[in-house]
């Protein structure tokens, strides 16, 4: 249980730290709360795993500093950092029994046998693997191995847990169950945890705070809800939420309140219109989530911020239906009620919830909206 501080952490494999574009991780800053559950998320190669490995000490840092519980561990060996890690592959020792796998770290610490036994058995009980203690890893199912890997981490009672995509080798159903269990375990143990995943659903459901990364750079650090409501840029906006947010690029009208091209015209009112007016550029990108678009019947006279298009693909999911609509050259995904019947090729009108629109700078791709203070 500790606060972890990362200050200006840089990882560079070429050895030339001055070249920021070559940095695998660039200027990473984060201070956790005690016992916080932090998720690092991003597409593969974004630096999230490298960041975690630097916290573990498995990778050296090229710049900046890392402190755990107030102690600078930037150049401390992994074994002296008081951390435990759950690997993506689980990395169980194949030649040791489940018990010995969990006891290994404690044995190395020369802990008395009786205490080792108590600790391992307690952890096994929590994880519901007490009946597997004598087995070898190869005799276990994927889910059981995953629990052993968790067990190996928790018997250590470390200051920090590091989990590197621990669920990616499980099937979909088990993944959802285990997700909830890890969250419960965390609430129970209250150990500061870093969790790496490429799955934004996992990130949203588990993290107290989420670090979204891309190409070695932190894009945004925030709570799940605020990431969803106030994405800092188009990447975060598109990465968080399924299906992805729709983006429509257009000219800013003379009234400084409208974004439009030949095929659509969206009127941004209120505070959104104000930031657009203050922005002063010629172009902007409007973002709208599929769930904030709704179907308008042909006879409906409503005509405020409506997109006119043609249905291209219909994907009924049961509870809702996803449709892809071509609005001129723009492909827009919308989530509509499942009882509305639409077919490929139909003309369609979609209503945009004006108060849910996002607006981004067309060149920097950063959001123009000011989030309320947290």
């Amino acid at each position: 249980m500790a606060i972890v501080e990362l200050k200006h952490v840089v990882k560079n494999y070429s050895g030339k730290a001055s070249d920021a574009t070559a940095n695998a991780v660039d200027d990473f800053n984060l201070t956790t709360k005690d016992g916080e559950f932090i998720v690092l998320v991003g597409p593969s190669g974004c630096g999230k795993t490298t960041t975690m490995r630097m916290i573990a000490g498995l990778e050296s840092i090229s710049g900046g500093s890392i402190a755990i519980g107030g102690r600078d561990v930037s150049h401390v060996a992994p074994k002296d950092r008081d951390i435990a890690m759950v690997f993506q592959s689980y990395a169980l020792y194949p030649h040791m029994s489940v018990f010995e796998n969990m006891a290994f770290a404690l044995r190395l610490k020369k802990m008395p046998d009786a205490e080792i036994r108590t600790r391992v058995e307690d952890a096994a009980k929590v994880l519901d693997i007490a009946h597997l203690l004598e087995r070898k890893p190869r005799a276990l199912s994927g889910g059981q191995r995953q629990r052993v890997a968790l067990g190996r981490a928790i018997v250590r009672q470390p200051q920090v847990f590091l989990m590197d995509e621990p669920l990616s080798n499980l099937d979909a159903k088990l993944r959802v169950d285990t997700r909830a269990e890890i969250v419960k375990l965390h609430r129970k143990l209250g150990v500061t945890t870093f969790y790496v995943t490429h799955d934004q659903v996992e990130a949203m459901t588990m993290g107290q705070r989420i670090v979204v990364m891309l190409n070695g750079k932190v894009q945004q650090i925030d709570t799940p809800q605020r990431l969803y409501e106030w994405p800092a840029n188009m990447f975060v906006a598109g990465f968080i939420g399924t299906p992805s947010m729709n983006f429509l690029r257009g000219q800013i009208g003379t009234d400084k309140r409208t974004v439009a091209d030949a095929h659509f015209s969206l009127d941004l009112r209120g505070p959104r219109g104000d930031v657009l007016a203050a922005h002063g550029a010629a172009e902007a990108v409007v973002g709208i989530r599929p769930e904030h678009l709704s179907y308008l019947a042909p006879e409906d006279a409503y005509n405020d911020n409506v997109l006119n298009g043609t249905v291209e693909v219909v994907e009924p999911l049961g509870s809702v239906t996803m449709i892809q609509v071509l609005v001129g050259p723009h492909r827009v995904t919308a989530q509509i009620d499942s009882h509305v019947s639409v077919a490929m090729g139909d003309p369609i009108r979609l209503r945009c919830q004006t108060e849910k629109l996002h607006v981004f700078d067309a060149s920097s791709e950063r959001s123009l909206l000011q989030p309320p203070a947290a």
Partner: protein, 310 residues
């Protein structure tokens, strides 16, 4: 909390070199093996090079000092050296031809499934594990002997005149012995190569309507190409250094008929006591081996990178 992000650069998948925190102390683990090889291989190699340019004959202790290229001049004017070089190349070339072609034929023969295949293959591979000294003596005495050898009995049996193999066909005899030892090696490796041929490739080509010959030509041969390459390179290096088979049978004779480079060097050093000239010849042997091993090492190195990319 927003971050100072600007335009999004294109996504780049970065290879992750596995740089580690504590790689420096680990280097000490490497040192003993490196030092050992350095002391026992590289230092002597450099000394050989040094001797090659020195006057150094154990029979003439008064003449010492820098010899320039004298030793090489002596070497190149010694007809025995050229015989030895030619013999070496003949031995390597002929043995390669025999072992690779027969090895491939046997590999194809043993790649079929039949009852007792394991036993037959095991028997066929056995000669590779026979100590070369034993090979030399068994063949020389019990098979090649002009009167009491088994082959002479077979020849007489068919009404032919027995051959004095080692006297009349000395090089051929050596080639036969070397090939007997190394056909199993080619067989073993080519067979492993054949068996590692992916089943789905064969199935795909059959579905495409290829006949047996097309299957062999377009799937098996390209797949075996690499394996053949390795067999040829490795065998070349071993054949270049053949020694025990010659030592125990012909002692390089009759005349210089079976004196190869290693045997020439051995004689120059141990019977003529000329360290300078034999070192010069040794340098020649190293260069000759390098011609082959450079290609092989490059291949292994290439394999290494392919392996680490897995």
């Amino acid at each position: 909390m927003t971050s100072p992000t600007v335009a999004l650069p294109p996504r780049v998948e970065r290879a992750k070199p596995k740089a580690r925190l504590s790689s420096a102390p680990v280097r000490r683990l490497l040192a003993p093996a490196v030092i050992f090889l350095f002391v026992w291989m590289i230092v002597p190699l450099v000394m050989t090079l040094y001797y090659a340019f020195r006057n150094y004959n154990l029979m003439m202790p008064d003449i010492r000092g820098f010899a320039g290229i004298m030793n090489f001049k002596l070497l190149f004017t010694d007809p025995t050296f050229w015989d030895a070089l030619l013999n070496t190349l003949i031995l390597v070339g002929a043995s390669l031809l025999i072992t690779v072609s027969l090895g491939l034929a046997l590999a194809l023969l043993f790649n079929r499934t039949f009852i007792g295949r394991g036993v037959a293959r095991t028997l066929a591979i056995a000669p590779f594990f026979v100590m070369p000294v034993v090979t030399g003596l068994i063949w020389k005495n019990m098979l090649f002997h002009p009167v009491y050898g088994l082959l002479s009995w077979v020849f007489r049996h068919f009404g032919l005149n027995p051959i004095d193999w080692l006297a009349h066909y000395p090089m051929l005899s050596i080639i036969i012995m070397v090939s007997w030892e190394w056909i199993p090696f080619a067989l073993l490796i080519l067979l492993t190569g054949l068996q590692s041929l992916p089943e789905d490739q064969i199935e795909a080509v059959r579905l495409d309507g290829a006949n047996k010959w097309q299957e062999f030509r377009h799937i098996v041969v390209p797949h075996l190409g690499q394996v053949l390459y390795v067999v040829v390179m490795l065998e070349s290096i071993f054949f270049l250094t053949s020694f025990a088979e010659i030592y125990t049978t012909t002692s390089g004779g009759p005349g210089t008929a079976t004196t190869n480079l290693p045997y020439y060097i051995y004689q120059a050093a141990f019977f003529q006591y000329d360290i300078g000239v034999s070192s010069a010849a040794a340098i020649g042997a190293v260069i000759l081996a390098n011609l082959f091993s450079i290609f092989l090492i490059r291949f292994v190195a290439g394999n290494l990178n392919a392996g680490s990319a897995r």
